[in-house]
């Protein structure tokens, strides 16, 4: 019997909870209902008003026909109003741009930490920097005033002055001024010790910035440790975003569930603000950006689209399906080359092509044979066939690269053309002097990354192997590892030759040229002449001189072949045909505030 009594008790308990929640629930529904009925009565009232107006009109004019005429007039008027409402609804729908992507913010939207493409992309929309790169820039070094209206430097490039824009307001009424700039940079540098993997650490803010000084309310001064020509480029990138002191403690700011404002320290001075950010399991589920009413350039009509909603898909194929199903207005990063060319033929979509600043290059491990011999590296470099990879794997969407600095950027050369493509006669004769021939082939492992960290890696590797073996004097074993192991192999220096890639942090040859001897590639290559030339190029603003210096670096690189550039490719975006205003320039940035519906 006890069991029954216990179950009664449990039933009663459940009963209490269920019934009370039902009552609350009913109350909620009832309150909704009462709102609805309120609306209904307003509507009825309006209809009554309308009728009485019509009736009055009829009385005034005196004749039924006239009254009828008026009535038709009112009807037409109503129709016109209805049309206007419909138009405004349609316009409202066009105020929201839904973007599909396979990206996700890696960890945080704190400029003192964020160092991933998508984190920087969102930061660019919601934050402000002193200056920015002009949309459609071909060199990446034509800067537009942003939060700074003008700037100048001493001739030795070590002291920089910035005159700030005035009357830029934060939501709480604070006026943006020089202390905000100082605070932003001081904080970025102070946090380098705590966040060694963050962007300011990676870009070495602490090395080149000596100190920041508030000269007057609207004037800020930077003292640099040494002349540093890419300085403006770095100021335009996201790790230089201005933070709001109220939300920027001297610690990393992380995602806070349900509180978008507390999830980022950036100041409310960009075109958009972060209105909703939801993450599940450390990955984005939804990001919503809304128009920032305090944006200094709002009077000029920016941002052009009121709301941007990001939707996160698991891979390229699901993203493509979402585009085709019309679930998103725009897809940006990553749709495969095959898919994008397929969609280009479809009139329901528009494809936007960007300039190529993503580069991939071949690295040689010089610690041991065979690549400790420069001649072997040169021979292999000459046998590569870049154009076949660009055509076959990337369907023409990538361009062969003959200098580590991509086309369009200051200092780009065609240096590696000297060695040629698939230049087998040269390769064979050079290798012959080293004792390699058809019977005694040069053998080595060629490694590629296999988990999709770089585009189409396996396909590329097959073609590189094919082209090299076509020389008749090489025997290549393809090996692969997914990103985690690949990076470990790189550090452990166990890969003979491997393919690596690079996205720029800032658009300047300074961010590319060092790849020839980058220590973190662990190639055991070092060339004092090259580093000296590089340091000299850093310290001068004379563009002709810089171009010369980078050309000299390239010339040594061709002789040494420590790292061999392979190809450069740009980004692409797919949109509905009604979307316009996309600039995919050399910066690889997507400026959402310029995008609008036609």
């Amino acid at each position: 019997m006890e069991k029954i009594e216990l179950s009664i008790a449990v039933l009663v308990l459940i009963g209490i909870i269920v019934s009370s929640s039902t009552m609350y629930y009913t109350t909620t529904v009832m309150s909704n209902m009462s709102t609805l009925s309120g609306d209904m009565s307003t509507l009825t009232e309006n209809v009554l008003n309308l009728t009485s107006t019509v009736r009055d009109l009829a009385t005034i004019t005196g004749t039924l026909a006239e009254a009828m005429g008026e009535f038709t007039g009112t009807l037409a008027d109503l129709e016109a109003r209805l049309a206007a409402i419909e138009a405004s609804l349609a316009a409202k729908a066009k105020e929201t741009l839904i973007v599909g992507t396979t990206d996700s913010v890696e960890l945080t939207l704190d400029p003192a930490q964020a160092y991933d493409y998508f984190g920087w992309c969102i930061l660019q929309q919601i934050s402000g920097t002193l200056l920015s790169v002009k949309p459609n820039s071909t060199t990446g070094s034509d800067f537009l005033p942003d939060l700074a209206e003008s700037w100048n430097s001493t001739s030795d490039l070590t002291i920089w002055d910035f005159n700030l824009r005035q009357n830029v307001k934060f939501p709480d009424g604070t006026i943006f001024n020089a202390t905000h700039v100082k605070k932003s940079f001081d904080r970025a540098i102070a946090l380098i010790q705590m966040i060694p993997e963050g962007a300011p650490a990676g870009l070495e803010y602490d090395k080149f910035i000596n100190r920041t000084e508030v000269v007057s309310t609207y004037k800020v001064r930077f003292y640099l440790n040494y002349p540093f020509s890419p300085f403006l480029g770095i100021l335009a990138c996201r790790s230089s975003a201005i933070v709001d002191p109220t939300y920027a403690p001297n610690a990393q700011v992380n995602y806070t569930a349900g509180d978008a404002r507390a999830s980022t320290p950036v100041a409310f001075v960009g075109p958009y603000y972060l209105s909703h950010w939801e993450r599940v399991g450390g990955r984005d589920i939804e990001i919503r950006l809304d128009k920032n009413p305090y944006y200094w350039n709002a009077t000029s009509g920016y941002p052009k689209t009121k709301t941007i909603i990001f939707r996160f898909y698991s891979d390229a194929s699901t993203l493509r399906l979402a585009v085709e199903a019309g679930d998103v207005d725009m897809a940006f990063r990553h749709i495969t080359p095959t898919d994008v060319l397929d969609l280009e033929d479809n009139p329901s979509f528009k494809v936007w092509w960007g300039t190529g600043t993503f580069v991939q290059y071949l690295c040689f491990q010089e610690k041991r044979a065979p690549f400790n011999d420069t001649r072997v590296r040169v021979a292999v470099a000459a046998a590569l066939n870049r154009s076949s990879v660009c055509q076959t794997v990337f369907l023409g969407l990538a361009k062969p690269l003959y200098s580590i600095i991509p086309l369009g950027m200051l200092g780009h050369t065609e240096a590696f053309k000297k060695l040629g493509d698939a230049n087998y006669t040269f390769t064979r004769s050079l290798l012959a002097t080293l004792g390699y021939n058809e019977t005694h082939k040069l053998t080595f492992d060629l490694w590629y990354e296999s988990s999709g960290h770089y585009p189409m890696s396996a396909e590329q590797a097959l073609l590189y192997k094919g082209a090299l073996e076509a020389s008749g004097v090489m025997q290549i074993t393809l090996k692969s590892a997914e990103w985690a192991s690949y990076k470990l192999n790189r550090d452990n220096e166990i890969m003979d030759a491997f393919v690596y890639g690079w996205y720029p942090d800032y658009v300047d040859p300074d961010d590319y040229a060092f790849l020839y001897w980058a220590t973190w590639l662990h190639l055991n290559y070092n060339n004092a002449t090259q580093t000296a030339l590089y340091d000299e190029a850093r310290a001068t603003t004379n563009l002709t001189r810089r171009t010369e210096l980078y050309a000299q670096i390239d010339n040594i690189a061709v002789e040494q072949c420590s790292v061999v550039p392979l190809y450069a490719s740009g980004a692409w975006a797919v949109t509905k045909p009604t979307v316009d205003g996309i600039y995919l320039d050399i910066t690889q940035d997507m400026r959402y505030w310029l995008i609008y519906f036609k």
Binding site: E2, A9, L11, L13, S19, R279, G282, S314, E324
Partner: protein, 420 residues
């Protein structure tokens, strides 16, 4: 062995099972090549930075100490009370609490699992019964064929076909994600407690009225069922009722002070109903339909075959013939008598299939960009996020263990021979 001791033994047995699973995952993750610390740095990393990071993540300690830390963390009651989930450590990649990440991702997987299981079992059992009734007919062969094909077809293949047909060509349903961009995710039931009048007293009264109503209904049912209502039983239920009443009134009054009470399950279909928002409900069902149908159909195959075989055996038994001879309705005989007897092995399979369901969920979640635990595991593996994967696998293990525990208990309840 009585039912009670059977259940207790069964529960105690889950502890070593989970511990074994945990240890295996712990070891396997660390045997894999790749260094979670090196993955933090895109380019420059000084040796001291790597060492620093290692210390931060606790990777500088010997393996046994890491293991001990992990196990001790799991049973840390204070942590559990502070956060509301067990201490599964910090993610090696994002430093966030793994427990929090997993608990935020789990509802999506649970929702998918529940609906797929409903679809799979209802569809599978019904088709199985139909097949057994029309034994050796064309219909039977067709259903058997369906069972075999669905069992063999890969989840992602069926998923992509569904996406193409219903998403791209017909444009009826979204191709992925949990809810359309046109509505915000449901927040569940938010009670703004300025309602009726809001004070402790009125809440107290409200809950007592609610409780009394239901208890009256309960008593009425008991009377109808002729259950004897002795004094002791009455006293117990009364005491429980009063305690519950006071606690309930106090809790709701407390939340009145906080301004609002949020009840959210993380299951979008349920939360949208709690929010009384039919638009969100429709949108979440629309998004849920394709993934759960995909997974449900794939899983239904085994139920079809199992139900059919068991039903065929049961239908041949004497008691079915006897029931038919007594002139009982065909449907009563089939569903009321035969299916009930054929149900036990199906129940076992239901429990076993949950494990299968979760592995299927990993593929389905990737195909439909469903932000659940499956997708979480896939993403974390590429970062060698030891703690995150350990946590997620333990969560999966716990889930499967719980389901099989429930199934075993039900089984023992239905079939006393098991307990012997």
């Amino acid at each position: 062995m009585g039912l009670r001791s059977y259940i207790i033994t069964r529960i105690l047995l889950t502890i070593p099972t989970l511990l074994l699973l945990l240890s295996m995952v712990f070891l396997v993750m660390r045997v894999l090549p790749g260094d979670p610390v090196a993955l933090h740095f895109e380019k420059k990393a000084e040796p001291w930075q790597l060492e620093d990071m290692r210390r931060k993540l606790g990777l500088d300690k010997p393996l046994w100490a890491q293991y001990a830390d992990y196990i001790l963390g799991l049973i840390d009651i204070n942590y559990f009370l502070a956060y509301g989930y067990p201490n599964l450590g910090k993610s090696m990649q994002t430093y966030e609490e793994v427990g929090g990440q997993i608990f935020s991702a789990f509802p999506a997987t649970l929702e998918l699992a529940i609906y797929s299981m409903i679809i799979a079992s209802v569809m599978g059992i019904l088709l199985g019964v139909v097949a057994s009734k029309s034994y050796n007919s064309i219909l039977d062969h067709l259903i058997r064929g369906f069972g075999t094909v669905t069992y063999a077809v890969p989840v992602f293949f069926l998923g992509i076909i569904f996406q193409l047909v219903f998403g791209v060509f017909l444009r009826w349903l979204p191709t992925g994600l949990r809810i359309s961009a046109s509505v915000a995710p449901p927040t569940g039931l938010t009670i703004i407690l300025s309602m009726p009048s809001g004070g402790f007293i009125s809440n107290f009264l409200l809950s007592s009225i609610a409780g009394l109503t239901i208890s009256a209904i309960c008593i009425a049912i008991l009377k109808v069922k002729h259950v004897k209502f002795r004094f002791k039983g009455f006293a117990i239920s009364l005491a429980v009722f009063i305690i519950a009443w006071v606690v309930y009134a106090y809790v709701s009054w407390y939340f009145v002070l906080k301004g609002k009470l949020q009840i959210a399950t993380g299951l979008y279909t349920i939360d949208s109903l709690l929010e009384a928002n039919p638009v969100k409900f429709v949108e979440s069902v629309k998004a849920l339909l394709l993934p759960s149908l995909t997974l449900g159909i794939i899983l239904s195959g085994i139920f079809v075959r199992l139900t059919r075989t068991n039903m065929l055996e049961t239908l041949r038994l004497d008691f079915v013939t006897a029931a038919k001879a007594r002139g009982l309705k065909e449907s009563t005989v089939t569903y009321g008598y035969a299916l009930r007897n054929a149900f036990l092995p199906i129940l076992t399979m239901l429990g076993l299939q949950f494990a299968m369901l979760l592995s299927g969920a990993i593929l389905t979640e990737t195909t439909f960009s469903w932000p659940g635990l499956g997708r979480y595991i896939v993403q974390r593996i590429s970062f060698r996020d030891y703690t995150a994967i350990q946590g997620a696998v333990v969560m999966f293990g716990l889930f499967v263990t719980l389901v099989s525990l429930i199934v075993d208990i039900l089984y023992a309840y239905f079939d006393p021979r098991i307990r012997l």
